[in-house]
């Protein structure tokens, strides 16, 4: 940083402390707004993030390849062939791909000796699945299936409804690929409390090759789940895959494309805190404007003198803008730090009594987790910066229209 810029920064920094009380009040208002905005959003987003995280790691994956018709019509007829060639092609498509896992998924009837329930049957490779999630930890009874094993693991909800337990036999009845009859008996080797509520109610999990055989779909899968090395690489990886798989009748989706309803629900829920945040910022914006208004008007003479002695209006405006940035940055940083500290202290909010029971009955943990998503922090900085830019219009106009003599006589 040059000597001149250092001096301008020093000038701006000292100027904001010419009236300590006023600056402290303005900064406090920004701190308060930023803190409240972050906490409101964090509380609202926390639960959704847990849901989304579970859906992504236990169900959709960050990126998923499907037959191009499967999203519209989720039928085994719209499965696609998965062989070594495709596996290599996908793995070589982008160096940011960390691991992949093939899956087959279909709707079937699950039955015991007396009753029948609808279920979603997943054929998975247990070794590859372990790279995506810690599903084994959710086993409450028994063990996970192995490849080539004629067995199944069922979700707790389904087990309860069918009154099945480990070592019992599960009957699956349905339709395989291209209308082939699909039915079989499977020993239940494990029961798990699936973290995704819907899957806990009706999930059946078995080895991929076992499921493919059951569904007359040898070598076919309905989805190839892909994990990039880092979450932020999701879109880039999807884009590479889309290019490389062009012409193969395959479609590549990112998780937001596969979970639009959940995201919409979250956005709707966030509308209220966003509106409150907007109102809060409007109020803070006027407070900020008041400070800048006073800071500008009480220094008109000084500005006139600076222009007289040879300071260009642009440099003068720059110093004023730096002053506003200092106030904004201080407010935002302290506000973010305070919000983060409060979130760390209260995370998670543990529900008790009837509220807790109501949440448990809905299939969720009785806690309200806080979100620590980076964007809800830096967005507040962006909002305050935008307010500062808007407020800056006033001193900018004043400086651009400043009559040196009138100002110097002020």
């Amino acid at each position: 940083m040059g000597y001149a810029m250092k001096t301008y920064l020093k000038l701006a920094w000292r100027n904001i402390w010419r009236n300590k009380r006023r600056t402290m009040i303005t900064i406090s208002a920004i701190v308060f707004a930023v803190m409240i905005a972050i906490i409101m959003q964090s509380v609202n987003r926390g639960s959704y993030e847990v849901m989304i995280d579970r859906m992504v790691s236990f169900n959709t994956g960050y990126v998923q390849i499907q037959d191009y018709r499967y999203k519209e019509e989720s039928s085994l007829d719209n499965s696609f062939r998965y062989d070594d060639e495709l596996r290599e092609k996908v793995l070589n498509s982008d160096s940011r791909i960390d691991h992949i896992a093939p899956r087959i998924e279909t709707f079937m009837l699950a039955a015991n000796h007396m009753s029948t329930r609808g279920s979603i049957v997943f054929g998975k490779n247990p070794e590859k699945e372990k790279q995506f999630n810690d599903i084994e930890n959710y086993l409450t009874e028994g063990r996970l299936f192995e490849m080539n094993e004629e067995s199944a693991v069922i979700a707790r909800g389904l087990a309860n409804r069918l009154q099945l337990s480990v070592s019992d036999t599960l009957v699956l009845i349905g339709q395989g690929r291209f209308g082939m009859s699909a039915s079989g008996l499977f020993e239940i080797v494990g029961i798990l409390d699936h973290p995704v509520r819907q899957l806990n109610d009706n999930g059946v999990f078995m080895a991929l090759d076992t499921a493919q055989y059951l569904l007359s779909a040898d070598g076919y899968i309905t989805g190839l789940i892909i994990a990039p090395r880092q979450e932020r690489q999701t879109t880039a990886v999807a884009s590479s895959l889309t290019d490389d798989l062009d012409g193969m009748e395959l479609a590549v989706y990112t998780w937001p494309e596969l979970l639009p309803e959940l995201l919409e629900l979250m956005e709707m829920d966030l509308a209220t805190p966003r509106l409150l945040t907007f109102v809060l910022y409007v109020v803070i914006g006027f407070g900020f404007l008041g400070t800048i208004l006073t800071m500008t008007l009480e220094r008109m003479k000084e500005f006139g003198i600076l222009l007289s002695v040879g300071m260009q209006r642009l440099k003068l405006a720059m110093v004023l803008f730096i002053e506003m940035l200092f106030i904004s940055i201080l407010g935002v940083v302290i506000g973010m730090a305070a919000a983060w500290l409060i979130l760390v202290l209260i995370d998670p909010i543990v529900l008790t009594g009837d509220a807790a029971q109501a949440v448990i009955d809905m299939g969720y943990d009785p806690i309200i987790p806080m979100s620590f998503a980076a964007d809800q922090f830096y967005r507040q900085g962006l909002f305050v910066f935008l307010i500062a830019v808007a407020v800056f219009i006033f001193p900018l106009l004043k400086i651009s229209r400043l009559n040196i003599l009138d100002a110097a006589r002020a």
Partner: protein
């Protein structure tokens, strides 16, 4: 060559309503090294003339030439730069930057001229020594007396190495000792470094020290005379 020159300079305020003739056809020429006082009663046009010389105000007619360049037709941004390199200002109320120390106030003008850090520091030190404030360089304006602040203002005006210095009533807010002290400094700089000073003043002490006295009445030059000055050191 004249350092500063005006040709038929006139200024009329409110020309469309109640015209006030602040300057009437003023033509003067100030040579390098002059120590000039512009005197006259209130409303005689001293400050208006000074503002015109400094390029702070535009005339209704006529022109101002500084170091051979006509400044009356310059664009404002060019004029600001021109002032920065050619004209030094000393104001009645000192007008230092309150959050800067004496040293920083003097340095700031040179910084606007994009001089090197080393050069700025050395020259600011040197100028503060010259005005007798070498030991107060880290004091802020609020920590200094009026006389000290005005001496910093003189050092600031000199820092940019201007062609001439305009001083508007520089002693008006100073006690007698401080005023004489300031005049000593300015006289010495004029004498030793050939710095050109132009004052507007009511102060007889300043008038007595000026080698040229321009008297204005009703916006016109009434008298323009040179006088012998006995150099005395006071304070």
């Amino acid at each position: 060559m004249a350092i500063v020159q005006t040709k038929n300079l006139s200024k009329v305020y409110n020309p469309d309503t109640v015209p006030v003739h602040a300057l009437r056809d003023v033509s003067i020429s100030i040579e390098k090294g002059e120590f000039t006082s512009i005197v006259g009663p209130s409303g005689s046009g001293k400050t208006t003339l000074l503002n015109m010389l400094g390029g702070l105000d535009k005339p209704s007619s006529g022109s101002v030439w500084v170091n051979g360049k006509e400044i009356t037709s310059m664009k404002e941004s060019d004029l600001i730069d021109f002032r920065l390199y050619n004209i030094g200002f000393v104001f009645q109320h000192y007008n230092l930057i309150p959050v800067f120390t004496a040293h920083e106030n003097v340095s700031f003008i040179m910084l606007l001229q994009n001089r090197s850090k080393k050069e700025i520091k050395e020259r600011a030190d040197e100028l503060l020594e010259e005005v007798g404030l070498g030991d107060r360089k880290n004091a802020r304006p609020v920590e200094m007396s009026g006389g000290q602040q005005q001496r910093v203002a003189v050092a600031r005006a000199l820092a940019s190495e201007p062609k001439f210095i305009l001083a508007d009533e520089p002693t008006a807010n100073l006690d007698s000792t401080s005023a004489m002290n300031l005049l000593d400094i300015m006289s010495r700089m004029n004498r030793e470094q050939n710095v050109t000073f132009v004052f507007s003043t009511h102060d007889q002490r300043v008038i007595d020290r000026a080698r040229r006295v321009i008297t204005m009445v009703d916006g016109a030059i009434h008298k323009d005379e040179y006088q012998n000055v006995e150099e005395t050191k006071t304070g």
